[in-house]
């Protein structure tokens, strides 16, 4: 791995950590403030691509495991992995990968602005919402023994907020692609 890629991965992990530490931000069109950390996971895929995005997220999870309070609300330590919602944390890995994989297909200068933005939004929604909830709900249902139906209904309340985050991630991904492109077709 080139040193530049290592640094990009570490800097993006730092962005994800920082997004968990700053006060919740408003989105503008809805009044409810959101915590931005899961937005950071979608952004990792959209900005860095599949491989580097996954590694950035893995680095954050590693920091949690070695006892640094890097998750939103100052959560951290191995105890986090005993919680019933740990699927939503470990699910970050496939979420960033899938987001990155799809986003890589829309990288480059040949795409029209609208098409690229919509592609990035779809990437963030499929990876950062669909795949993430698959893992999160999966562990709630079988790891915590809640059963599929209840785990699903218990998580539904968060889906609208996360879909909005996917839109923000897509827009921001497009802005970064214009300002400082680092997403390649096959990174």
């Amino acid at each position: 791995m080139k040193t530049r890629d290592l640094v990009l991965i570490a800097l993006f992990a730092a962005i994800i950590v920082a997004l968990g530490a700053v006060p919740p931000i408003t989105l503008g069109f809805i009044p409810v403030p959101i915590t931005a950390q899961s937005l950071g996971v979608m952004l990792a895929g959209v900005v860095l691509g599949a491989k580097r995005g996954v590694l950035a997220v893995a680095l954050v999870i590693l920091l949690v495991a070695i006892g640094l309070p890097v998750l939103s609300g100052g959560r951290g330590g191995l105890g986090v992995f005993a919680g019933p919602t740990v699927g939503f944390l470990l699910g970050w890995l496939p979420a960033a990968y899938v987001t990155g994989r799809i986003a890589e297909g829309f990288a480059g200068y040949t795409f029209a602005a609208t098409k690229q933005t919509l592609g990035f939004i779809a990437a963030a929604a499929i990876g950062g919402v669909l795949v993430l909830y698959l893992f999160g709900i999966g562990y709630l249902a079988f790891g915590a023994g809640l059963g599929l139906e209840k785990a699903f209904y218990g998580s539904m309340a968060f889906i609208p907020g996360d879909l909005i985050k996917a839109v923000v991630a897509g827009l921001a991904g497009r802005a970064v692609m214009v300002g400082y492109p680092i997403l390649h077709r096959s990174a």
Binding site: L6, G28, G79
Partner: protein
């Protein structure tokens, strides 16, 4: 950024980090294999005794567990509503016991011990040419070094919005934050290579 490690001289502190992590994994598997309520209750009492016996002030010990306990209690509540007392007890005791033991490992293992164990565990991968084990410690160090800087930059972007009479919104703050942060990558990478830190 302060880690959740708490200095001390207990047996848990003196055990090697690798042994603690291996033990934690074994206990986790065992906890998920049994459904016996007395056994799980005993496990919770035992892990609770270990955790509270680490010499941490009570407030320091309880604080990191509160958010995790909240999610466990939420699941226990749902179990009580829909699946009955037995299912609720099994899940609640199992997850609480696991959380207490995991928190005990975190509180008694320093960051450098963790990184030493992880780098060692990554050596087989290095031999396969998949990664460099020393990069893990370097990457962790980089993150810890740059988080405060990124938070400062985030605040600066918000201030710049306000100075221009704009309300800071996610859509207009995130993109400049990412671009400004990642633009540093080249000079940081050059600095690392110039010092020969990665030995290439």
């Amino acid at each position: 950024m302060r880690s959740l490690y708490h200095d001390g001289r207990t047996v848990m502190h003196r055990l090697p980090a690798g042994a603690k992590l291996a033990g934690l994994m074994v206990v986790a598997v065992l906890l998920f294999l049994t459904r016996s309520i007395p056994l799980l209750a005993f496990a919770m009492l035992a892990t609770g005794t270990i955790y509270l016996g680490l010499g941490q002030p009570l407030r320091v010990a309880i604080r990191p567990l509160v958010p995790i306990l909240a999610t466990i209690l939420a699941v226990v509540g749902l179990h009580l509503l829909f699946n009955g007392v037995e299912e609720a007890s099994v899940t609640g005791l199992r997850l609480t016991a696991l959380m207490l033991l995991a928190a005990s490992v975190t509180a008694t293992t320093s960051i450098s011990d963790f990184i030493a164990v992880i780098s060692q565990a990554a050596m087989p991968l290095e031999r396969l040419g998949l990664l460099k084990a020393a990069d893990i410690g370097l990457a962790v160090g980089l993150v810890v070094r740059f988080v405060p800087e990124i938070i400062t930059r985030y605040d600066a972007i918000r201030e710049a919005h306000r100075a221009r009479g704009l309300t800071p919104k996610a859509g207009t703050v995130i993109a400049p934050l990412i671009i400004a942060t990642l633009k540093d990558a080249d000079s940081i990478a050059a600095a690392i290579d110039a010092r020969g830190i990665r030995g290439q």
